[in-house]
């Protein structure tokens, strides 16, 4: 932590990204004759509706660049060793933004508009930010960053996934520019957000060397709990909170059986998978929940133009990542997974850690369930088929070692985003739907392989 603050240069991508997002959302970017002073967000919308006289190719690249810079900055923040690698990504983000300016500039010249006069404050600020993002790479770093090397870049699974993500987005975007539209990117981020949130809890479970197969059924159950509560007239905040409580209770029960009764977690959760699923069907008899009050739809709300699932995903991921790295409890999870005996000797109570980790997992399943339940105006009475596999896939693709003791939360979240990018991207480049599943399988394999090659390099 201190290392990050030791050299403010490490924080540059974070600050620049934040500034870029703010100017993207709030500062007038251009003074359009027909639209007046316009921010990029309204410009993007106007373009989608063909209200704009000019064809602003690549307009959506700008927010992506800004957003990527922000993410990368946060990533450096949680992982100081990667200062260099992240700054290189920020460089790419800056170049992406600059490319946009070039396209925009050419468009404007072609329209014969008076260039200087029609540009707003946001335009200049973003231009400066883009340049700064590019030049920050030449600034000296703290020692932790070391010299930039490919090895540094490949130092962990997060960068491997991030590279895969950037590669996919750029190549699909080249083939089908609409893929890069802000709305689509936000939809992709949002689509798997609840899986990413559930993956946070699952990551913790897997880091301790356990697994939870029941999480899909649990999310299905908790979503119905939330919906039924609010329909029965309970206050909305309580209906949002209750899934977390019930999730924690179920988690505590699972944790108790695993920790104190010494039944392997795969057996317990395999059993709970059946119990929760059967119980849900008997309880609901297949009836969907509808007619929730208007204020209930948490996942449909937006702040700063970004929908809540994305915010939840990002904020929870960052908080959990920091917590796992710096808090004693988070560290104890790693210790238990890495070497249970050593953990016990160094004074951790194994049983207590297991209880904690399953309770946390239940709470994250509860949050995921609320996001799932409030996304649509109908809550289905059965959980999405194969949800537990989707969550586990995100976690293991994210680089969490199934043998315990290794892995990070951020990797799992990035993997959840990657999986949804693959799903959406395959549609945009017209892969035959018959083969989408096979392509997904291959891409998962490739990501895992990248990770393995990296690890072998490190070993050698």
């Amino acid at each position: 932590m201190t290392k990050v603050f030791a050299n403010p240069v490490n924080l540059l991508p974070l600050i620049l990204g934040l500034l870029a997002l703010i100017s993207y959302q709030f500062l007038p970017f251009v003074n359009q004759p027909d639209l007046g002073a316009t921010t990029i967000s309204t410009l993007t919308a106007a373009r989608a509706n063909n209200e704009l006289g000019i064809s602003t190719n690549g307009i959506s690249l700008l927010p992506i660049g800004a957003f990527a810079a922000l993410l990368l900055g946060l990533w450096t923040f949680s992982n100081p060793q990667l200062g260099r690698a992240a700054s290189v990504f920020s460089l790419l983000a800056g170049l992406l933004m600059l490319e946009y300016f070039a396209l925009f500039f050419l468009d404007y010249l072609a329209q014969g508009a008076s260039f200087i006069g029609s540009m707003g404050l946001g335009f200049w600020l973003l231009l400066i930010l883009a340049l700064l993002l590019i030049f920050q790479v030449f600034l000296p770093r703290s020692k932790a960053g070391k010299e930039f090397q490919l090895r540094t870049l490949l130092a962990n699974q997060e960068s491997a996934i991030l590279m895969a993500l950037v590669f996919l987005i750029v190549s699909i975007g080249l083939a089908s520019p609409r893929f890069l539209a802000t709305r689509n990117i936000l939809d992709i981020l949002q689509g798997n957000a609840y899986i990413a949130v559930a993956a946070i809890g699952m990551t913790m479970v897997i880091i301790t060397g356990n697994i939870d197969i029941s999480v899909g059924s649990l999310i299905g159950l908790l979503a119905v709990v939330s919906g039924r509560m609010v329909v029965a007239g309970n206050p909305i905040w309580l209906s949002w909170l209750m899934p977390l409580l019930v999730g924690a209770l179920v988690g505590a029960l699972i944790g108790f059986i695993v920790a104190y009764l010494k039944v392997p977690s795969i057996v317990v959760t395999l059993g709970f998978l059946s119990i929760l699923k059967g119980g849900l069907i008997i309880w609901t008899n297949g009836e969907r929940v509808t007619n929730m009050p208007d204020g209930f739809y948490l996942a449909q709300m937006k702040f700063f133009g970004i929908s809540t699932p994305i915010l939840f995903m990002i904020i929870l991921t960052i908080l959990a990542a920091i917590w796992m790295r710096f808090s004693p409890m988070g560290r104890s999870f790693y210790a238990l997974g890495g070497n249970a005996e050593a953990a016990r000797l160094s004074g951790f109570s194994e049983n207590l850690i297991l209880m904690q980790v399953f309770i946390l997992n239940g709470i994250f399943a509860g949050i995921a369930a609320v996001l799932y339940a409030t996304q649509l105006r109908v809550i289905q009475a059965t959980p999405p088929p194969g949800l537990e596999l989707a969550v586990i896939t995100a976690v293991v693709v994210g680089g969490v070692s199934i043998l315990g003791g290794k892995g990070t939360i951020i990797g799992a979240t990035l993997a959840a985003i990657l999986l949804n990018t693959i799903r959406s991207g395959m549609v945009f480049i017209n892969v035959s739907p018959f083969w989408i599943l096979a392509v997904q399988g291959i891409l998962i394999l490739v990501t895992v392989l990248i990770d393995l090659i990296r690890r072998q390099r490190q070993l050698i």
């Binding site: 197969i213 059986i257 009764l261 010494k262 039944v263 392997p264 795969i266 057996v267 317990v268 395999l270 059993g271 709970f272 998978l273 059946s274 119990i275 699923k277 059967g278 119980g279 069907i281 008997i282 596999l389 586990i392 896939t393 293991v396 693709v397 070692s401 199934i402 043998l403 035959s432 018959f434 083969w435 989408i436 599943l437 096979a438 392509v439 997904q440 399988g441 291959i442 998962i444 394999l445 895992v448 392989l449 393995l452």
Partner: protein, 328 residues
């Protein structure tokens, strides 16, 4: 003389107690209890035709559970069995109908494809040290995707009458697939108990690093059992296709969880090094008879799912409890 008899009786009693209180013994007692309770609820439960029929339905999961036991003993896992089953089934149909291969040859080709699919799993696990769970999670999607892509969502039907012998007919009074299962079970028990391969499996499961350093052919052993798993999934596919007279790309979805449930219920430790085929067999029969017996006594499937979940946890709990009492 009298002393001798007492001694013999004593050791006999000890042995009996050991057998009774072993993992398999306890499971067996639970199984007997379940049978007694369920047979009281419906007279047809214990009828020969019902039991044979349940044997027929159980065989596919059973065939796959045998190699799965081996794999879990080595502390591995194979999640892709359901997808291998789907892929082999689809290819059986495609080889025969679309490519015009004689059905006999198509069956053999499907078995080869299944084995190769398992071998590929093993190859990545052994050569690249991909953890089995991750590898088979990836191929779970990939093999299913291949099945879907190759079949283009079309099912193949209209097999010749003789083909139905595998899935619908009986040989010498027993359903054909039950013969396959019985023979495969016996072979699997013998291999696990008497051959060096069997000993290697336990050694790898107990201490993979140690096994490698003491010169055991770890890589070859793992390759063999993952290929075996693929082969059995393909064999189950042939039987399944013969039983339901059609092929679909979604065949075998979720099979992996049924199989793993049977194996872990049978007392094979997910951490490796412990367990055996007999336990798996009892676990398998227990789940199948529970499903059937509860349905016969008027319990619906959703409630049955709950009961099976509870039994899974409780059986392991009871066993843990007794083993600990014995140890202390």
């Amino acid at each position: 003389m009298a002393l001798d008899t007492a001694k013999v009786e004593n050791t006999m009693a000890k042995r009996l107690r050991n057998l009774l209180f072993s993992q398999e013994g306890i499971l067996f007692i639970i199984l007997v209890l379940v049978i007694i309770v369920l047979s009281g609820r419906n007279a047809n439960f214990l009828s020969a035709s019902n039991l044979l029929n349940q044997g027929r339905l159980m065989s596919e999961v059973g065939l796959v559970a045998l190699p799965m036991t081996y794999i879990i003993i080595t502390a591995g896992i194979d999640l892709s069995v359901g997808s291998i089953l789907g892929l082999s089934a689809i290819l059986l149909g495609v080889f025969w109908k679309n490519l015009g291969v004689p059905l006999e040859l198509a069956i053999i080709l499907a078995l080869i494809v299944g084995t190769v699919a398992g071998y590929v799993n093993g190859l990545f696990i052994v050569r690249l040290n991909v953890p089995p769970l991750i590898m088979t999670l990836a191929t779970l999607a990939f093999y299913r995707g291949l099945a879907q892509g190759i079949s283009e969502a079309k099912s193949v039907t209209g097999y010749p009458e003789w083909f139905y012998i595998f899935g619908q007919k009986s040989v010498m009074g027993l359903p054909t697939q039950l013969w396959f299962f019985i023979i495969a079970t016996i072979i699997s028990i013998i291999i696990l108990r008497t051959t060096t391969l069997g000993r290697y499996l336990y050694a790898i499961g107990n201490n993979p690093v140690g096994a490698r350093f003491s010169g055991l052919p770890v890589a070859r052993t793992l390759l063999v059992i993952y290929s075996y798993s693929g082969f059995m999934a393909a064999l189950a596919a042939v039987i399944f296709v013969s039983r339901v007279t059609t092929t679909r790309s979604d065949m075998g979805t979720g099979l992996e969880l049924d199989v793993i449930a049977a194996v872990v219920l049978g007392g094979t430790s997910i951490f490796g090094g412990k367990g055996g085929i007999i336990g798996t067999l009892i676990g398998l029969v227990l789940i199948q008879l529970l499903k059937n017996g509860l349905a016969l006594s008027g319990v619906t499937s959703d409630a049955t799912t709950i009961v099976i979940g509870l039994v899974l946890i409780l059986a392991i709990l009871v066993n843990n409890f007794i083993q600990r009492r014995r140890d202390s």
